[in-house]
Symmetry: C2
Subunit: 328 residues, 2 copies
């Protein structure tokens, strides 16, 4: 390791932390920032809280994800959960476990990724605290907070007759992961946009908040359409009927990538990515029929009375396949 990029161990934890923290910008909701026993956040009387963990070699591989990617993705996955409740993201705390030999530049670039995720996805949100610990593998545990200006939007609110609506990409993150994992490295290089959605997803948070304003139920698509639609159906005691014709557009943008993979002998199907692929962190909502939808939302089905299965694709039961990231 060169002197110009010392390890956290060489530089000392508190100096390394200072360099990382220098990349964070103050937000608009913090009364007392990080540095004392706890941060103090302004709230309008109610706030939401959610936590999500990423573990090295389970949820990400260092050969694919840069430290910036990891920071960015940690922001995206947590803020999409906040927005899926109908809340505006206000603050994050970040617990990071890294080996002591980790370079200070890794820590700084991770912090840069956190801040650029905030800047691009929801400016004004802020990293208000964190904890740096040492371990054998990297663990990133983020807790995010948001403030509610409306009633929270739950999974259990879907009503028969609602339209099923998506905001954001569908299947791109899974396609990106398949491309990355293929032994032929030219594949990932050929579809950088899909790889980018896997490594640093960009959930449309502002659009998600608009959608939350009119939705009866909503969640963020972390585990795939089939799994997450079933969650809404079960929680709401209804069934969901997806229209295959409405999914053609999502499939079309993945078709070339799937063809490139199968041409090289790898298993790939654009429909599987769209139906079962996770980690887009897009929004799935149900809204009353006749509601004016914000631009960028797409109707992909409807809520029907509860029948034998929670989710149907046209008239066929759509069995949920669990999404397990790279550890599957």
């Amino acid at each position: 390791m060169s002197n110009s990029d010392p390890s956290i161990f060489e530089l000392g934890e508190s100096e390394a932390l200072k360099r990382a923290i220098a990349h964070f910008k103050p937000g608009s909701h913090t009364l007392i920032p990080s540095g004392d026993d706890a941060a103090v956040i302004r709230s309008g009387g109610r706030y939401v809280v959610t936590t999500d963990t990423m573990v090295q070699d389970r949820d990400f591989l260092l050969k694919f994800s840069s430290p910036e990617n990891l920071g960015y993705k940690a922001v995206a996955t947590n803020l999409s959960d906040v927005v899926a409740m109908g809340a505006k993201p206000t603050s994050l705390v970040v617990a990071l476990v890294v080996p002591k030999t980790t370079s200070v530049s890794f820590l700084e670039n991770f912090a840069r990724g956190l801040q650029s995720g905030i800047d691009e996805l929801f400016p004004g949100c802020e990293v208000v605290g964190g904890d740096l610990a040492s371990g054998t593998e990297i663990v990133i545990a983020v807790t995010a907070h948001g403030e509610l200006d409306q009633e929270p939007v739950l999974r259990s609110g879907a009503k028969v007759g609602d339209l099923v609506v998506v905001a954001g990409t569908l299947g791109k993150a899974a396609a990106g992961l398949s491309l990355l994992l293929a032994p032929d490295h030219t594949l990932a290089a050929s579809y950088p946009e899909l790889v980018e959605v896997q490594l640093a997803p960009k959930p449309p948070l502002a659009l998600g908040l608009e959608l939350a304003g009119i939705a009866n139920s909503m969640l963020d698509l972390s585990d795939g359409l089939s799994t997450d639609a079933a969650r809404i159906a079960k929680a709401s005691d209804v069934s969901i009927r997806l229209n295959s014709s409405a999914l053609i557009g999502y499939e079309a943008v993945l078709e070339l990538a799937a063809q490139s993979m199968t041409a090289r002998g790898f298993e790939a199907a654009e429909r599987d990515w769209v139906l079962h692929g996770g980690e887009d962190h897009s929004f799935l909502a149900t809204v009353p029929a006749g509601t004016l939808l914000p631009k960028g939302c797409k109707v992909i089905g409807e809520v029907v009375s509860k029948s034998a299965e929670p989710v149907y694709l046209d008239d066929t039961p759509l069995i949920a396949k669990g999404w397990d990231s790279i550890s599957s």
Copy 2:
């Protein structure tokens, strides 16, 4: 592994989680509990947030700490940070990384430990969410929230003339760790109360809140008196003068344990434990002279004008020794 205690992998993560969550009691501040994208918490307009991480073989050893201990300690360390700000603990989210081979009973006992920590230390607080992930070593990352009914008490508020006050144990956690780490296992068995403070500390949270109500500055003693007193002194631009005679009582209860250790050839000094030992998670505060102190608080020094060193023991500079738990 017997069938009566399956692993998380054997039982399935969602069923294992259900069994763990069954040990949690609802609290009084939660509007929407765990189970959706995020929990919703009531707040009086401001809340505090803090996070703390425990890593296997760095912050705890499974040969000493039971899963109940780990849950209990995770609650104690985080709630003491909340209280040290002058806030009432309301909620916790828990990110837990464990190997997939971990038994479901470990998970359940960890959850029991979290709940008994809450029950004993601050009833009404609640686990409102979490995340279970798999990894090679155990990582426990807790984020805790509290509500402020008063102005936050910062490290930077100490005033010349303030009395320096402690609420809680001093040195017992460090003594307990020394006893545990000694190769002679009869030592730890002889001083169960000290070992208990190390494995499952019981910070006096209600007393801490009373103290916060009158304190100019305050923090929780996680890294040792010498280190934490220096933090207040530096943040407040003052010096702190500790009275050795006021520490005699803390030393006295550790004297026998230190003698037992030295008699068996191990290095141990009760004064070192009191001055430099961390993890008691007691409270160190400064209060205006003449203030009526709540019962259970002890004056151990005073705040003086800034001089060459941040902390003095009587007239001698007290150099902070960093506390690094078992990884030191």
